[in-house]
Symmetry: C2
Subunit: 417 residues, 2 copies
């Protein structure tokens, strides 16, 4: 018999934590609002979910979510706690879409809860048989880019919308000629009428191949193929036909089912962008934690996964970003399912020392938009300054000192330092 | 030139509403955190999103979301308002996954916002060319079930997990013989190892066809085919091969891209279950409103869409349920894109009068789990009592009066009234 699917929740309720956990168990395995004929004891025994543990936390005087019911005689106190529930594997089978309907289904709407967040998820072995996980992961991405001993450093094409394809050509030419490791499309740039993806792929790959012939280094380009299922696979074909080695998708736009489908067809790296993630995670007493989400993304097959950068322009604080990076780098079954965390937003040469100090790893992708495009020496100098920032960080040499004789880093520090 | 994509947001910010709206415009069309070379004025003119309107609401002394930045000199007041933004169609093209990356992308994470919710969305004509909308909708579902002049009434197979297929046979036999309009699987029941979908489809359809031969009425059964893309299409084939005329999916498990993909392949009704919806909607200052969500679901191709029932077991109040029903019944382009709202949770014969009084329509699907399975006279009597409840509601006759000479309704009232 398979081990169960174990979901860990942060709960808040005006009932007891035990009652709240029982309601989840009943709602998401056997049970309706009144006793019914077919629900025998032996059926319940085999198929009912089980509460594994309940760990109380400090209560709150206020409900975190609206519409929560208060039991009669309640003192108006909202109990909080961490609750682990085991759902029999046999109820569901090895299907992430069906797991989600159980562990993250209607329960967010239950009136007995004033707060509920899925904070972790453990899936049994059978899932690893159906879902192949990252095809390339960290090792494969290093092999394809030829970058070892430091982060994979890249940029986002800017302006993120409106760029004519012939201007894209010039940008890619300059970046690829400078030997940049990685380029990606912006997530708001997919396949717009004014610059169709096929044209952009053809143009960018021409420049990348031409630069590779000269420099011996082939820049990885993550083309944003986010779209409906069939067009997405057509875009994938386009990228593969033109010699591209990476595609990007907005994970929450195509769904985890879309990612798993792409993984079955793609011979290239899958760069996973998590836009829309804030919608299901920013409020602390609702939604899902990154700890659960990243496991599902990895199992579904992404090779790279966005995590924000330190000191980013978003609401996420550094402790949470660091947790996210560590999550991506922690094996689920083994080393092969680790994925590259992608540090992005307000990144530049000057971010490297703190990033390295806090993370103590080079197994990240570090990408800069303005930090490379805004460099006074041009895109190539922007890339080199970012590499130099990381070299300084790894050598433990202060940036100001390392900038001596390195004009690209010097210029970056003068502009942004 | 196409009309733009118009997104309406509820915003909360410690900045001015104008500044907050400008930040969204910049983040989601042109712009990075510093000025860059390629971002010319003419490019901005063509591709920049535009603020259409800003309507202030009452401020809040507290931020609704964590991590929100406060401008220097702020009085600690969080301004709230409704902001409409137009995104040029040319930036995106007719792709829902790419629209989502723009109108609902990173912006939920912006530190300048302490609250953000997408409350409405208008898409230009080109989307209606790519996305076919409901194939059957309300009219087609009525034609297939032969039910006119009252809601389509149905039930959910219970117990929702653990039922052996041979017991399912007996339940379907009784329900279909009683001429029930509609049966659906529970959303937590997909394709589990102990009762594979193919077996269940075969068994249920045998009983439905056999009953139809006797009664002349073919019960519609929404088989839960939620799964990864390829298995989902296999399940669809199974249902169609065995003469089924409806499939159900957990919309948020397969993604809107999955729904649109299914719509392209399915010759049967698509019953859309919105489980996980609470995750992106329950907190009022984050996520998405049903007004926006239901439009996306309909465009993607569902024929039926869950909305909760009045006085349900969830947190949602009746005003919100009523709004949801009206949304589904309001044409986007024309009558053909209206879909059947599915009223579910704590429904039974006795709910009908209030439901009809509040909604003033019969164009709903009304389904009961316990309300039919728990009827002392059996499933058939449960169904008949529910129809009688609606007959009374439509005739404007009190239930107690209508129950005279109608033992099924009488028993239901005695048990639950």
């Amino acid at each position: 018999m398979s081990s169960p699917i174990v979901a860990t929740y942060l709960l808040e309720t005006a009932f007891s934590l035990e009652q709240a956990a029982e309601i989840i168990v009943s709602e998401q395995s056997t049970g309706t609002f009144m006793p019914i004929a077919g629900e025998t004891e032996s059926l319940k025994e085999r198929h009912r979910a089980r509460i594994l543990s309940i760990q109380p936390l400090e209560s709150s005087p206020f409900p975190s979510l609206p519409g929560a019911k208060i039991p009669s005689g309640s003192k108006g106190e909202y109990k909080r706690g961490i609750v682990q529930i085991a759902f029999p594997y046999e109820n569901i089978g090895p299907s992430i879409p069906n797991v989600l309907a159980t562990v993250a289904g209607n329960l967010f709407e239950l009136e007995e809860l004033s707060g509920i967040r899925l904070i972790d998820l453990e899936l049994p072995e059978a899932f690893s048989e159906r879902y192949e996980g990252p095809r390339y992961g960290i090792g494969g991405t290093r092999e394809m880019t030829g970058v070892y001993g430091r982060p994979i450093i890249g940029t986002i094409i800017k302006p993120n919308v409106g760029l004519p394809t012939e201007q894209l050509r010039l940008i890619v030419r300059e970046l690829a000629s400078a030997g940049i490791d990685f380029i990606k499309d912006d997530e708001v740039h997919g396949n717009p009428p004014y610059a169709p993806l096929e044209e952009r792929v053809k143009t960018a790959m021409e420049e990348i191949e031409r630069a590779a012939d000269r420099t011996g280094k082939k820049t990885m380009y993550a083309f944003n193929i986010t779209d409906d299922i069939e067009p997405m696979l057509r875009h994938l074909e386009t990228v593969q036909r033109h010699g591209g080695n990476c595609v990007m998708v907005s994970i929450n736009s195509i769904g985890l089912a879309g990612v798993a489908h792409l993984r079955k067809h793609a011979q290239v790296c899958i760069h996973g962008h998590r836009n829309q993630w804030g919608m299901m995670s920013r409020y602390p007493y609702l939604g899902m934690s990154f700890a659960a989400y990243q496991k599902l993304c990895r199992l579904s097959g992404v090779d790279h996964l966005h995590v924000n950068g330190l000191n980013n322009k978003f609401y996420e604080d550094n402790a949470s970003v660091i947790d996210g990076v560590r999550g991506c780098l922690t094996p689920i079954r083994d080393e092969s399912d680790r994925v590259l965390p992608v540090l992005s937003s307000k990144q530049w040469a000057g971010s490297a020392p703190q990033t390295y100090r806090e993370l103590q790893t080079v197994d990240v992708m570090n990408i800069a938009g303005g930090g490379i495009h805004g460099h006074p020496g041009g895109f190539g100098a922007g890339f080199r300054s970012f590499v130099q920032g990381w070299e300084a960080a790894l050598a433990g040499v202060p940036l100001e000192e390392y900038a001596a004789g390195r004009p690209e880093l010097r210029q970056a520090l003068d502009l942004l330092g």
